[in-house]
Symmetry: C2
Subunit: 289 residues, 2 copies
């Protein structure tokens, strides 16, 4: 089975677990709305790609780790879209969860997806139980406080905020966790793989800032121009348009160069190269050519 | 060290972990506000009491489990108090988290406390790593969906809601997890201990409904009369005042009778008896005498 199918299957099984007997129907539907239909699934694909490069000797665990990372990503989107943050009406071209199901169910769906990520890993750990604690630490640290997604979002409530730190926590941390968790799920050293995820995460964030600056809501499937509208830190505001494009290219090169020695090194380099080429928004790629 | 000191120490260490380098200061303060100063800590005390009755051979793990349960309880209070749910101005006699720090930081503090509960257990599992997966499953299931706290809160968004199921999920589930997790952390069979937590949880919920009906905001440290005001399911609305008091007594008896054979059985019976006697609101106990 290819990586995307493995991820969708693991995510489906996870959400089905939540939809089991006793589930309040609207809450179950709100959770499914948050996770499906699929987004780019870039973080779990990265997790499985690294696990594969490291031998992937416990595929049930690497799939659970990848799915857990995606559930946590989806949870952060649901809560970021809430009226007290971005108040976003759309996400992935559809109504955001709070617009479709109301604010109470959006808060609860996010909470439930966070918990589900950890339930899923615990349920999949019997194949390699000693890898569970490191996996949960890697993934938990990347979403929690002081250095994960929630911490990153928390910086928006502070008077002073460092762009690099903000983006590292808000986006980079879960990318670094995706590569480290892929290695840990396959029994390899997670720390050697952090740099790859870190650079890809920053590249992805710069690309997101570029899209927010140059694309329309129709092209993005979510509101555009949000960074400028909310006065939020952004690579485009900090470096300018051309500076941000140059930064994206540097980060992609550093990502490829960071891949540790492993059985699947050359195959993984190709994957990373093709992924990073797709990051530059189409209209900027066209004007650069 | 007595149980209350062990719990406060474990909770302090957990929150200190979140307050580490890189933590946005207001978010760290909001998390601390949600957890301290201490509430009754009834769930973690129950967890440690059961672990003690079962031998408590991995005290670092039982303390982490108890503290994780309390962190998850605090997280649920922070989110329940939000404007889109109870819109409560006070909690434990002080401003609720969203009144003190604003709604964005209250959402984030709740999210971060959920994640912290799992980070804490993973970090404490090295003494007995094979117990981590069952512990996370027990505790995760009790807060998640379909049968945990979040599911219980989700029933408030449905048109039809069964009182027993609602209270079981909203309160009973975390009590049942407290006893089951105490046993699991000590290497005993968790399932044998669920009934004790289940009955105590329902007793606690009935007592809470009684307090909501007969006490003032000053006596409770949080807004009173909320069940009637929000048209919420309540044992007082369902059974009447005297019926609810009788139900509380039956549940306390069933709890004591359910304690499995174990080394510390008689000591634990005494603890449970004295705990359940304290549940009846003072003014009702006085009028019943």
């Amino acid at each position: 089975m290819d990586a995307v199918s493995r991820i969708e299957k693991a995510l489906n099984a996870a959400v089905a677990l939540a939809e089991g007997p006793g589930c309040p129907p609207k809450l179950g539907a709100a959770m499914r709305h948050a996770v499906f239909p699929k987004g780019a699934r870039i973080r779990p694909r990265l997790c499985l790609a690294v696990a594969g490069a490291c031998g992937d000797d416990a595929p049930a665990l690497s799939e659970a780790a990848g799915a857990a990372i995606e559930l946590l990503h989806c949870a952060s989107l649901v809560h970021d879209d809430l009226p007290c943050f971005d108040d976003a009406a759309t996400r992935r071209g559809r109504p955001s969860v709070h617009r479709a199901y109301g604010e109470p169910l959006a808060v609860l769906a996010g909470d439930a997806l966070i918990v589900l990520a950890f339930q899923l890993m615990a349920r999949s750990a019997s194949v390699a139980p000693l890898r569970l604690a490191p996996l949960i630490t890697i993934i938990g640290d990347s979403v929690g406080v002081p250095r994960g997604i929630v911490a990153g979002q928390g910086w928006e409530s502070e008077d002073r905020c460092d762009l690099a730190e903000y983006q590292q926590e808000k986006t980079g941390s879960l990318f670094a966790a995706a590569t480290a968790a892929g290695a840990a799920a396959a029994g390899a050293d997670p720390e050697a793989w952090r740099m790859l995820g870190d650079r890809l995460g920053e590249a992805y964030q710069v690309a997101d800032d570029l899209r927010d600056a140059v694309e329309s809501e129709d092209e993005m499937g979510k509101p555009a121009g949000q960074d400028a509208a909310h006065g939020r830190p952004s690579a485009v505001l900090q470096f300018g348009l051309h500076g941000a494009i140059a930064r994206l290219e540097t980060l992609a090169d550093e990502a490829v160069a960071s891949i540790p020695d492993c059985l699947g090194q050359s195959a993984l380099r190709s994957v990373i190269l093709s992924e990073t080429r797709r990051l530059l928004p189409r209209k900027l790629a066209a004007s650069a050519a």
